[in-house]
Structures are given as C-alpha cells and as structure tokens.
Amino acid sequence: MAITREQVLHVARLARLRIPEGEVEAVQAQLGAILDAVSKVSELDLAGAEPTSHPLDLVNTWDEDISRPSLPREEALANAPDPAENAFRVPSAG
C-alpha cells in the first residue's frame, strides 16, 4: 500500500515531527512497506464484530472527590527546560 509524499508530510505535521528534506523519501518507503504488511487486517470481513479497546471488561473505576497535596512549585518546575516567573516558558505560536 503506497503512501504519498504529501501524506507523509501531512502526518509528520500532525505528529509535530520535522523530517529533514533529504530523508522524506526514505521515511516514505519504510512507512509504505509497513503499511503494506499491516493492511492485511482489511482482508477479514468483520462487519458484525465488536471492537476490543480493552482486554478486561471493567466499568466504573473512579476516585472520591477528596483532595491530596499538590507538588511544591519548585518540584513542578524542577525538570522544566525554560522556567520563568514561576511558570513554564514557551515561544508563542508564530
């Protein structure tokens, strides 16, 4: 199953991965080969089958609405690449 260059670039944008210009074709070829293999699932006619999103048939697991301590702010920010003014700093959307 072929995947076009445009599709590769579209998916890469959705996934926020910038494929360097010279590598797009290689990525396209690899994805195409894998998609060929996994497209095998479409051979089966499963119109009536229920999808399984979970191996166990559980429902209603939840927690009571009782608060627990939050992290001290220093710990919340401890791993931040660019902490500023007690917050996480990012460049703005362009």
Partner: protein, 466 residues
C-alpha cells in the same frame, strides 16, 4: 424577503468539584501559578488519569435537568492536538459515546415555550492557562513568549451542545441565562461568564424564511457575557445577511467578536486541519451509570427554573417572572408576603437596581416596607431599600415617616406644576392619559419626594378631569 437566523450554542461549564477531573489536585481559582499541579496534571511520563466520581455524578445530574438520556455506557476518548496548555498532547473528552445523549430543554418565552434540542452533554478536562508576554502587551498575536500555568489544567468541564434550534440572538441569550440558572441551582458550578466558569461559543448561519436545510455556519468563539453573546450573534447575523445580499458566500470559519468595536475577525486556528484523531482512552474504563444512582440523582433534582417561570408568570406576568427566576431573586420573592406584583416590582426594579444582595434581605421586614410604600416619602423608601440587606435591618423607623397625603398641603405644588406645563395639560385633556405619570413625577420632584404618589395622582386627575 426576510432572513432567518439559525443558531446553536456550545456551552462549557466548569464544575466546582473539590478536585480536578483526573487527579486529586485541589480545583481552586486564583492561586499562585503552578501551585496546584502534580505529575498527573503536568503529564509526566508514566502517569495515569483516575476519574472524579463527583464530576461524573454531576454531569448525569445536569443531563437529567436538560432532559437528556443518560447513556448506559459512556466512553472517554482522546482528542489529539498540540498546544502548550494541553500537557499530554491530547485532551481526555468524550466522543462517540458521551455521558448524556439527546435531550430537550424547555425555555419559557413571552409567547409560549421554546423547546431547544440538546445534542449531548459530555465530560472533559479543561486546558491550562497561557499568559502571553513579551512583544506587544495584551495582544493575542505578536507576543514573543508565553507562560503556562497548569493550575486550571485538568479541571472538570461539561460541554453542552444544543441543536441549531435558536432563531434569534435574544432567544439564544434567554436559553443561555436559563441554562446558567439551572446549573447554579443544581449546585455544580459558579457558572460565571466573567471568570470563565461558563463559556459560550455560537454556531451561526442564516437562511431565507421558509428555506429548507441549513447554509454554511460560522463559529463565534468565547463571548464572555450574556450581552456580548447577544450582540456578537446579532453582528454575525447581520454580516452574513449583508454577505448574501451582496451576492457573496459565507465561508466556514472560526470568528472572534470584539465587544469594544463590535467587529468580527477570523481567528487563527490551532491545528491547520481539524484532525483530532479521536480514539477510546485506553487508560480509562467505560462509565456505566448504575440505574439506582441515576434514579437517586433524578429524585434529588429540585423544581427547575423553567418550571418556576411558568408558575410565577400566572401571578406577575412573564417578564417579571423570568427576571426574578433567572437572577435567582425569586427565592426572596416567594418569601415576602403582600401584593405579588408590588413585591416583584420592588425586588426586580428597586432592590436589584440598588445592587442589594437579595439573599441577605429579611423577607418580613421587606414585606412591611412594601405594604407601607405608598404612604412613605419616596426618598425614605429608597433609603430603606438601600439598607435592606444590612444586618439587623428593621423597617420600623422608616414606617414612622409618613408621606404627605393632605390635599390642602399638596394643592399649591399641583397648581404650580399644571401652570408650568400648559401644553401637556392640553394634550392630556385631548386624550393622552399617559401624561398622568408625568404630572405626578413633576409634583414628586417639587415636593422633594415627600408626597404620597397615589394621593397626588388622584388629585391631579380630579383637577384635570372632565
């Protein structure tokens, strides 16, 4: 040929649970940045969401109040997109199987009920808050950097989607106000638009009267007051009509209404294409609200505002009934004895106008004031009303101050007013009965508000009478 607006609302209600939707950080407003976070709501590697039971129950309760079917099985889903206020890179929401399915919400109007279809009400988590800094201050675009505060991130949010059943900005506002009051009375949210705990987007299109089907709609985002919702929709309806009448086409886009200038501008979209790649959230199991739980939540729902408007309308007419109920002031109204219209009028026009907190008013004292209103000087009554919410307020000292009702004392003022307005006197005699109020007002003014208005009114009528 006339145009018909077609409006649907998408409303977000922030639940006032004690903790967030999927972690047990406190759900509070106005704390220092990033002091209400944990590995879960910061989306650290390996963490998992655990749903808040109360948020689920409250959503069911809200769904029941909106006349929705409660789903036998609801499934959380991931909505995938990148934004700094969305730490996991996806929002946990509900997609194909929301907690509350189709419903009908009855909105009383002056000319009968409007049934507004509810498409769904589902539970999701809120995004964090991003403050744009650097660059030009305060503008959304053009800032160089942003600061992210995750305190609000992950707090529970109910999204309610209406059918495109609304036909005017006024109706949309009425629907939203009634919905807000319902939410407030269920005790599940502060629902304050200014604080963002109630948010409203509107899907707007227009069509020719009698035309079947819908035309292209636009989405108006984040209008943060009832007035702006109405004005924004009005402006967009006008824009679309003008576009069609100029031979143009409306394009599907997301718009921002600026209440200062009244202008409508396209918003930059977060994702170039809306491809959210929804799929069932594998970290959570389905919610299957037990029948007993749904029954007990249903039983606990009080008489809802819509029903109360219809009930009170019998006593005081639609406008007063709607005003009292959607402002929550009917609680006081119901407890004050006396002439129903007078009580409603005083609460809606005078107490509310003076900014008095009706929750703190002693109904018995207010009842006494209203009963004696016409015998009191206007200024005295107004002062009493202004103080009605003060602790230990008593009507007694005000009741002692009687208004001037003696005809002999009032005659000079009445004569002076009539002499000063010969044209109006002529008009009144010519049949303009409505001018009676004008003369009474002038006399009240001349007497410094001390006159008994009803007596003045009678005297004026006698003097000018045939």
């Amino acid at each position: 040929m006339t145009w018909e607006p077609v409006i649907g609302l998408e409303i977000h209600v922030q639940l006032k649970t004690r903790t967030k939707m999927f972690c047990r950080c406190a759900n509070v407003w106005g704390e220092d940045p990033n002091t209400r976070t944990c590995p879960v709501c910061l989306a650290h590697p390996g963490v998992l969401p655990v749903p808040n039971r109360r948020a689920i129950e409250w959503t069911v309760k809200l769904g029941l109040a909106l006349g929705c079917e409660v789903a036998p099985r609801a499934v959380f889903a991931r909505k995938n997109y990148f934004y700094p206020d969305l730490p996991k890179g996806y929002q946990i929401s509900q997609y194909e199987q929301p907690l509350c399915g189709p419903g009908r919400f009855v909105v009383p109007g002056p000319a009968g009920d409007h049934e507004i279809g509810i498409v769904r009400a589902h539970l999701e988590e809120d995004a964090a808050k991003t403050i744009h800094v650097g660059g030009a201050a305060g503008r959304i675009h053009g800032a160089e950097t942003s600061l992210v505060d995750f305190n609000r991130g992950g707090t529970p949010l109910v999204e309610i989607v209406s059918e495109p059943d609304l036909r005017s900005a006024e109706q949309a506002k009425r629907f939203l106000q009634l919905l807000r009051q319902t939410v407030v009375e269920l005790g599940i949210s502060d629902a304050e638009m200014e604080k963002g705990s109630l948010r409203c987007d509107a899907n707007v299109s227009v069509r020719r009267a009698g035309e079947a089907g819908y035309r292209t709609k636009t989405e108006l985002k984040n209008m943060n007051s009832f007035t702006f919702v109405a004005r924004g929709i009005e402006a967009e309806v006008e824009r679309q009509i003008a576009t069609y009448e100029a031979g143009g086409e409306v394009v599907q886009e997301t718009l921002h209404f600026d209440p200062q200038t009244g202008s409508i501008t396209p918003l930059r979209s977060k994702e170039e294409a809306d491809d959210y790649r929804y799929f069932p959230e594998p970290d959570l199991v389905p919610v299957a609200p037990p029948a007993e739980l749904v029954a007990s939540l249903a039983a606990a729902i009080p008489e809802l505002p819509g029903a109360r408007i219809r009930r009170l309308e019998q006593e005081i007419g639609f406008d007063l009934a709607e005003g009292l109920v959607t402002s929550g002031r009917d609680r006081l109204y119901e407890r004050v004895e006396g002439d129903r219209r007078a009580v409603a009028n005083v609460i809606m026009n005078q107490l509310a106008g003076a900014g008095v907190d009706t929750e703190r008013v002693d109904p018995a004292e207010l009842g006494r004031l209203i009963e004696a209103r016409e015998r009191m000087p206007r200024t005295v009554f107004d002062e009493a009303i202004g103080r009605a919410a003060e602790p230990g307020f008593s009507a007694a000292p005000y009741l002692e101050q009687q208004a001037v009702s003696d005809a002999g004392e009032l005659e000079p003022a009445i004569s002076a007013v009539l002499a000063a307005h010969p044209d109006q006197v002529a008009a009144y005699r010519g049949g303009k009965d409505g001018l009676l109020g004008f003369f009474v007002g002038q006399v009240m003014k001349a007497t410094g508000g001390k006159a008994n208005a009803r007596v003045v009114s009678e005297l004026v009528r006698e003097r000018l009478g045939a």
